[in-house]
Symmetry: C2
Subunit: 119 residues, 2 copies
């Protein structure tokens, strides 16, 4: 049983779009990711996905609107909903989703990150 | 699909030890709770439970040690592990656990909160 300090964990990596697992909750994983620039349009066919902004600002583009999120704000993207995360400047985000979810969903892209990387 | 501002949601209630649901992630619920004083010893037989401190400081007593948590720190209490949350001063906490979890676990107490209360 570990006490986890988010800031400390975020200091352990610097690359963008590579979610790092910091803890598990039953079969769910708590991840931290740093994002900057535009991600790829994708969806997660079988699961919702939680975004909680820890520091900075991000946007999530959906097919019919764009959601702006800043520190202390969160959103659950429902399963099957196409979305594209983006951030003009570096943004630090907590993600929560079931174990094994691929960051780019159904899309294979050079932004597809290695899975199950713990920090 | 809602954008959720944690501070705004926390402004909507003032009582202690009564978790409020702010969102669902598949069959999991994201809750906010304000705590002050001592909770009851209890455990959740079938699920882990995530505590993320949003503001303030709290402690979680376990049978063999005490964990101190402050804003930006989190802990997952494994299923079946007896614990007692407490806070000297008001502390604002995010909880994540499967839908339907009772705050006092197996214990029936005057701190047992009504379940499935959304804000």
């Amino acid at each position: 049983m570990n006490k986890i300090n988010l800031e400390e964990k975020l200091s352990l990596f610097s690359e963008h779009w590579t979610p790092k697992i910091i803890e598990e909750l039953n079969d769910y994983q708590i991840k931290l990711v740093k994002i900057q620039g535009e991600f790829v349009w994708h969806e997660h066919e079988n699961t919702d996905e939680l975004f909680l902004v820890i520091e900075g600002k991000m946007k999530i583009e959906f097919e019919d609107h764009t959601m702006n999120l800043e520190a202390g704000e969160m959103c659950v993207v429902p399963k099957g909903v196409r979305h594209k995360p983006m951030a003009d400047n570096e943004c630090k985000v907590m993600l929560i989703e079931p174990r094994g979810v691929i960051n780019t969903g159904e899309v294979k892209d050079n932004l597809t990150a290695e899975n199950d990387v713990w920090i």
